[in-house]
Each structure stands twice: as structure tokens, then as C-alpha cells.
């Protein structure tokens, strides 16, 4: 088996190569080489192309560890990621459960589509739409004041809660999607068996449903946490001056301060953090597959 397998695999590569090469060449030029270049540049004092003299340095990384600002902002971004992920679990998981186990047939299909539909529309525009709801004199303010007997001022715009709301709105469909996929794979007879053996609804939820849908929860959490930690547009638009996070500092290095090597180092540190998180999530996901 081993010998014919080996020859087949060599001729297989020869036939596969012309079909594979264009796609992977493109990915190499536009993704893998840039990521490698970023690592390389992060050890430089200046860009070699700008004509200025440059040298190798650890200074960009030293800046991260010596100035508490960057570490503080990274922690703030991690906290933001954690909070948004938790809210997405709290809001998305019950919705996924209802979709998978309560709704049936065409209504399930239609509502599932409605839930994931906004997610494929422009993220920037959806964040922007919250500005109209949250600002003082905006819809939320006007509506609440019309209903409530006393005067309140709702001006959530440019605040931390506004950033959370916008991000949860952007990412909750992810959680619904991944949890729905694992929840609907759970055999209903397992749930019925648990119930008929005398377990309460809560016990069934804790002992059967949540453990079996854990891979979906973890996948959703990873899919949400990672981009939120690297977000910069959402905090800029909804957070205003309170919206300074790790992502916005990286953005600044590239579009405002023009300290690309420092930006590269900060990006690479973020990449390392992201990879660690994905590595932690991977075993749970693999066990599911």
C-alpha cells in the first residue's frame, strides 16, 4: 500500500500543480509574504525604502513593554473582546436554541436567513446606523421621552456602551449561526430520554444540551473575540474620544503618525495574541470534528 501510494501521490501533485499554483501563488503574494514582511519590518528602525538609513532594532518591541500605554490598551481591547463575546453568548445562544429546537420547517428557514442576513451587509454602514439611534435627540432618546412620564436624557453616543452595542449588533449573528449548527445536530430523542428519566429542564440543559453544543459556542466565541480585539472602525465611530483601543493605535501608526515599524510590531504582537487564543480554542473544535 505504501509504495503505490507514494508514486500515486507524486503523480498526483504533478497533475494538481497547474490547478493549484495560481490560487496559492496569489495567496502567497498578497497574504503570506506581507505577513512575513511585517515581522521583518517590525525589527527595523525605519523603512529601508524611504532613503533614510535603517538598522535592525528591538526598539519597537521595547516600546511596547516599556510604555504602559500600549499594554493598557491591549488589555482594554481584550476586555472589550471578552465583554462583546459574553453578550453575544447571552443574546445569541437562546436565539439559536429557539431556531434549532422550537421553530420548524419554512418559518425556521426564513427566520434563520433573516438573522444572518444583516451580517452580510456592510459592517461600516451598520455601525453608522447606530449613531442615529444612540445620539442625544436621536430615536432612542425621542422614543423613550415620548413614552416615559419624566424627562430623561439618552446620549449614549461616544461612550463605551455605544461601542459594545455596535459590536454586539455586528457579531451576534456569528454566534447564532455556529450554535444553531451544533444545536440542530443534537438528536431530540436524547433530550426526551433525559426528561423521561426524571431530569428537569434545567438539568437537561446543563448536562445534555450545553455540553453537546460546546463546540458551536467555542467556534462562535473565537470568531467574535478575534476580530473585536483588532477592531478600530467601530470604536472610532461610536466611541469618539472614549474609543481609543489597541486597534485604533495601530491604525494611527499607519495613517496618522507614520511610524510603520512600530505599527508592524504592535500588529505582530496582536497576531501572536490571536494565534494563542485560536490555539487554545482548537482542541475543543477538533474534538467536535
Amino acid at each position: 500500500m505504501a509504495v503505490p501510494g507514494a508514486t500515486a501521490s507524486r503523480s498526483g501533485l504533478r497533475s494538481a500543480l497547474p490547478l493549484l499554483a495560481p490560487a496559492y501563488l496569489w495567496l502567497t503574494v498578497a497574504i503570506f509574504l506581507p505577513l512575513s514582511a511585517m515581522v521583518f519590518f517590525s525589527f527595523m528602525t525605519d523603512l529601508p525604502l524611504s532613503g533614510k538609513p535603517w538598522a535592525f532594532t528591538l526598539g519597537n518591541y521595547a516600546a511596547f513593554f516599556s510604555q504602559s500605554l500600549y499594554l493598557t490598551l491591549l488589555l482594554a481591547s481584550l476586555r472589550l473582546g471578552l465583554e462583546v463575546t459574553l453578550w453575544c453568548v447571552v443574546i445569541g445562544y437562546p436565539a439559536a436554541y429557539v431556531l434549532a429546537k422550537v421553530l420548524k420547517g419554512r418559518s425556521r428557514e426564513a427566520i434563520f436567513l433573516l438573522v444572518i442576513l444583516p451580517f452580510w451587509s456592510n459592517g461600516l454602514v451598520r455601525i453608522f446606523s447606530w449613531a442615529m439611534v444612540l445620539r442625544e435627540g436621536g430615536i432612542l432618546d425621542t422614543a423613550l421621552n415620548a413614552v416615559l412620564p419624566f424627562k430623561i436624557n439618552i446620549d449614549l453616543m461616544y461612550s463605551y456602551p455605544a461601542v459594545i452595542i455596535g459590536l454586539v449588533h455586528s457579531y451576534v449573528p456569528y454566534m447564532v449561526l455556529t450554535c444553531y449548527l451544533t444545536l440542530q445536530a443534537i438528536d431530540d430523542s436524547l433530550i426526551e430520554a433525559g426528561r423521561s428519566l426524571g431530569a428537569s429542564r434545567l438539568q437537561v440543559l446543563k448536562r445534555v444540551i450545553i455540553p453537546l453544543s460546546l463546540p458551536g459556542l467555542v467556534a462562535g466565541a473565537a470568531l467574535i473575540f478575534v476580530p473585536v480585539v483588532g477592531s478600530f472602525m467601530e470604536p472610532r465611530i461610536l466611541g469618539g474620544r472614549t474609543g481609543t483601543f489597541y486597534g485604533t493605535v495601530i491604525e494611527d501608526q499607519f495613517v496618522a503618525v507614520f511610524n510603520w515599524p512600530l505599527g508592524a510590531a504592535l500588529s505582530f504582537i496582536l497576531l501572536a495574541v490571536v494565534l494563542v487564543i485560536l490555539a487554545v480554542a482548537a482542541p475543543v473544535l477538533r474534538r467536535a470534528a
Binding site: A16, A23, L124, V226
Partner: protein, 262 residues
């Protein structure tokens, strides 16, 4: 039985709340794009003034054309390269195949902020620079893994015996691919193409780092406008974008089931 009924009713109500949360801001934005007051003041008075003034905003129109062109070219390139790669990954066994498949996930999983800044550094370093060509290079790379994943998923449902049968009836490799395999995977190819279009047309982060003042895309232009101050014109163009991308998604759903229905 009674409790089950109540719980199910609560569940439906909850889904209703979630849908309201998801759609209310979008609906409000769409309504405001038809409101007379440029400061979104109520009472609501109907106007199409903001849509009309879009026609005179040359900058926005130019950016829209750029976005459309890039999205269409991205779609074509991704569909061709992605389908070819999917076929190769499906048909042939070779060493390193697992690695090649695993390599599709970093582009999807790494935050666009990192990918975008890395592209900026690299393209600048090798002399490609910024601008529309750089944006196209980036968009194709971002969308390609999605297309390969979607087309490969469709290929999993393909029966290889069909290719065998065609071959034994005298068809050559090209005929087999064109007459048997391709028609079968077409729904996957179309869904993948629509995905690629959506990824490119809605892409903001990567375009933002690769755009130059003259060569920019619609989302980048919108971001610049938002940061300068909100205008009803931006509401109007945003509403158009939302409607277009949602229509596109519905179209995708027709060709490709995401729900994995039983």
C-alpha cells in the same frame, strides 16, 4: 404541556426581539434618508432630495464605480482560481495536501487590521504601492479562501463514479470537467462567486489601508465622510448599499443552503 406551550411562545417572542435589535437601526437609517431634516429631526417629512443630490457628488460616484469594478474583477478571478484549486484538492492525493488546506484559514481568521497593514507594508516595499491595483490584489486574496471552501463543500456531494462513467464512455479529462463535474458544482461556484463579490464590495479595512485619495472605494469614502460629520447623503448611499448587499445575500441563499437543513 402547558409549560412547553408557554416556553415556546416566549422563545418566539425572544426571536422577535432579536430581529428588532438587528433591523431597527438599519430601518431607522433608511427612513432618515427620506427625511427632510438634515439633522435627523422629527417629525418626519418625506423627501428624495438626498438621493437626488447623490447624483451630483462626483467623488461618491467615482468611488462607487471603483468598488463595483473591483468587486466584479475580484469575483471573476476568485471563481476561476478558486474552482481550479478546489478541483485539484478534490481529485488528487499528494503530500502536503493537508497543509495547503490548512493554509486557507489564516486569511479568514487573522483580523483584517493585521492583514491590511501587512499588505500596505509589503506592497509599498516591493514597489506595487497603494491604489486600485493593490486593493484588487488584496480583495482577491481575502475572498479566494471563501470560494475554495464553498466550492469544496459542494464537491463533497459529488459522486466520482460519474467522472469514471464519462471517462469510460470516451470523454477526455477536459470534457469530463466541462460536461460532468462543472455542471454539478455550479451552485457552489455561483455561491462562491456571490460570496467573493460581497467580501470585496463590503470590504472596508483592507481597502482603507491601501487606498489613496484619488483611488478609493465606496466604504472608504463613507468612512471619511462619517468622520467629517454625518450627512443625510451618506444615509442615502448607505441605504442603497444595504439593500444591494442584502439582495445579493438572498440570491446566494437560493444557491447554497447555509442552514444544513435535515
Amino acid at each position: 404541556m402547558m409549560t412547553t406551550r408557554i416556553l415556546e411562545g416566549l422563545g418566539r417572542f425572544y426571536i422577535g426581539l432579536l430581529l428588532a435589535f438587528l433591523y431597527l437601526p438599519i430601518i431607522i437609517m433608511a427612513l432618515m434618508s427620506f427625511n427632510v431634516s438634515p439633522f435627523y429631526q422629527l417629525p418626519f417629512e418625506w423627501t428624495t432630495e438626498w438621493y437626488a443630490s447623490l447624483w451630483h457628488n462626483d467623488q461618491l460616484i467615482a468611488a462607487t464605480w471603483n468598488s463595483l469594478e473591483i468587486a466584479i474583477v475580484t469575483t471573476i478571478i476568485c471563481v476561476v482560481l478558486g474552482s481550479a484549486a478546489s478541483l485539484a484538492l478534490y481529485r488528487y492525493e499528494f503530500r502536503g495536501k493537508k497543509l495547503l488546506q490548512a493554509l486557507l484559514f489564516p486569511p479568514i481568521a487573522i483580523p483584517w487590521l493585521i492583514t491590511g497593514t501587512a499588505m500596505l507594508i509589503f506592497f509599498f516595499g516591493v514597489g506595487i504601492g497603494r491604489g486600485l491595483f493593490a486593493i484588487l490584489l488584496g480583495h482577491v486574496a481575502l475572498a479566494l479562501p471563501y470560494v475554495i471552501v464553498v466550492v469544496s463543500a459542494r464537491l463533497q456531494t459529488f459522486a466520482p463514479e460519474l467522472e469514471e462513467a464519462a471517462r469510460s464512455l470516451g470523454a477526455n479529462q477536459w470534457q469530463v470537467t466541462m460536461r460532468v463535474t462543472l455542471p454539478w458544482i455550479m451552485p457552489g461556484v455561483i455561491a462562491g462567486g456571490l460570496f467573493a463579490f460581497a467580501v470585496s464590495f463590503d470590504q472596508f479595512v483592507v481597502s482603507y489601508f491601501l487606498a489613496t485619495p484619488g483611488q478609493t472605494t465606496l466604504p472608504v469614502e463613507i468612512y471619511a465622510a462619517i468622520r467629517k460629520g454625518f450627512t443625510p447623503e451618506i444615509n442615502a448611499v448607505s441605504t442603497i448599499i444595504i439593500v444591494v448587499s442584502m439582495a445579493l445575500m438572498l440570491l446566494t441563499a437560493r444557491f447554497f443552503k447555509f442552514g444544513g437543513e435535515k
